[in-house]
């Protein structure tokens, strides 16, 4: 914009009056005239303000939780940054619990500050403790694909066949929960396989995985029946 302000996000920097790209990827602008950023796909996560992240609590202190989000430094999640939390009513979380949070402040010189409330409404809006389930790692590029709306083909196709829930973090961590461990593993495998597949390939891959689960279920039922028959 003429005489306007250019806001720089991850992957773009200012040097000697020029704006330069400093990592490989696709140059994009955040919606609503946001920051310019370069989006590539990496294994290592670098926190950025506004990211949604899946983290594991490593320390539960009086004033804050320390959360491992896969970055160089742990995230700091204040105990009051939860819906309805007060000094007398703090969330009942401990080390090892998985949480879905938003990066409120990310700055190179400090640990990232996380929050479990939506900034404008003060409500939880899906953030908070993720109970049960399973967390696995993926690239930041795949995580971003899975966060788009309409849903990525793999999530849509899985949803037609199974009922499951998932929380995707920009930090390349994904939490999955479903009715049985077998189905959870199937969802995890399907998501991991889907990174470079087209929509048709994804459908074929998911139906192949679903077939193996049917065979597995059939085997389990046969084993269960055998045990029922043999145990006096």
């Amino acid at each position: 914009e003429a005489g306007g302000v250019v806001r720089l996000g991850p992957g773009v920097r200012e040097r000697a009056g020029l704006v330069e790209v400093c990592r490989p990827g696709v140059l994009q602008r955040e919606p609503h005239k946001g920051r310019w950023r370069v989006e590539g796909s990496q294994k290592r996560y670098v926190p950025s303000t506004g990211d949604l992240v899946v983290g594991t609590i490593t320390e539960a202190g009086g004033e804050q939780f320390m959360v491992d989000i896969g970055a160089a430094f742990p995230g700091v999640l204040p105990t009051l940054s939860f819906e309805g939390a007060t000094k007398r009513n703090k969330p009942n979380l401990k080390a090892g619990d998985v949480v879905y949070t938003r990066v409120e402040i990310a700055h190179p010189d400090m640990d990232p500050i996380l929050t479990c409330v939506d900034a404008s409404t003060g409500k939880a809006k899906g953030f908070g403790h993720l109970k049960g389930g399973y967390v696995f790692s993926c690239s930041t590029g795949l995580a971003r694909q899975l966060l788009y709306w309409p849903p990525a083909p793999v999530l849509a196709v899985l949803g037609e066949a199974l009922s499951y829930e998932t929380a995707v973090g920009n930090n390349g961590r994904i939490w999955v929960n479903s009715e049985s461990p077998l189905e959870t593993i199937l969802v995890v495998n399907a998501i991991q396989n889907s990174e470079h597949l087209t929509e048709e390939q994804t459908k074929a891959m998911v139906s192949q995985l679903l077939q193996t689960i049917e065979e597995e279920k059939g085997t389990n039922e046969a084993v269960n029946q055998l045990m029922v028959d043999t145990v006096p």
């Binding site: 992957g11 490989p24 190179p108």
Partner: protein, 222 residues
């Protein structure tokens, strides 16, 4: 530039077949293999990650590079090459963006058939890009030599050519700004021969850069 055929049938101004692949190693945040013909070097990058307090810098990332030969312990020549790659990588990475962290580059020579330092630099750069470490420039390296008593240059020397050369050069360039970021000359040469080698390698580096771009972007979304 040398005329006539070389040992492997190449012309003087011809590079060997270039080959590169990223994400080759399960561990590490980025990795790459780079080849000039049979010369093959693997680079693996970790970072930006937490660093021990003793090596922490409050305003910059701590960049560490290790260089390992095919077998045995690194000798003096390997340590020298490692130091050259380290100083070049340190200037290419934007260290100020990740203070109090470290980036480690591990270089492993897999086969040395000449021009190994240039291959190591190209592998390290591709691995850093693969890891998404912020870079202020993309250095590209190329080697050249004056074989025997000849006064004509040949690019990308084989190990057998390096052994009989009176001078072997490795240069790395930031082709965006046309700056020379690394210059290593071993042997005996006149000043005009150095200048000739530098200018010729800058031209050859363009071809290597085009290859790097192709090799890196293959399979990645655009």
């Amino acid at each position: 530039i040398m005329t006539g055929k070389r040992e492997d049938g190449r012309e003087g101004g011809e590079l060997r077949v270039l080959s590169a692949e990223q994400m080759v190693v399960n561990r590490g945040d980025g990795s790459s293999v780079f080849q000039f013909g049979q010369t093959k070097v693997l680079a693996c990058v970790y970072g930006p990650i937490e660093v021990a307090a003793a090596r922490e810098q409050v305003d910059a990332c701590t960049v560490e590079v290790s260089y390992d030969p095919i077998h045995g312990v690194a000798g003096s020549a390997d340590v020298a090459r490692g130091a050259m790659v380290a100083s070049m990588v340190r200037s290419a990475i934007v260290k100020a963006l990740h203070p109090r962290t470290s980036v480690t580059v591990l270089i492993q020579v897999m086969h040395d058939d000449g021009s190994v330092l240039a291959a190591a630099i190209n592998a390290a750069v591709l691995a850093l890009l693969d890891a998404g470490v912020p870079m202020g420039s993309v250095p590209v390296a190329v080697a050249a030599a004056y074989p025997g008593e000849a006064s004509q240059l040949c690019y990308d020397p084989l190990a057998s050519e390096e052994r009989v050369s009176r001078a072997v050069f490795t240069f790395a360039f930031d082709l965006a700004t046309k700056e020379t970021v690394l210059s290593d000359g071993q042997g005996m040469f006149q000043q005009h021969e150095y200048t000739h080698a530098l200018q010729s390698c800058r031209v050859a580096a363009q071809a290597v850069l085009s290859f790097q771009k192709l090799a890196f972007s293959k399979g990645r979304p655009t």
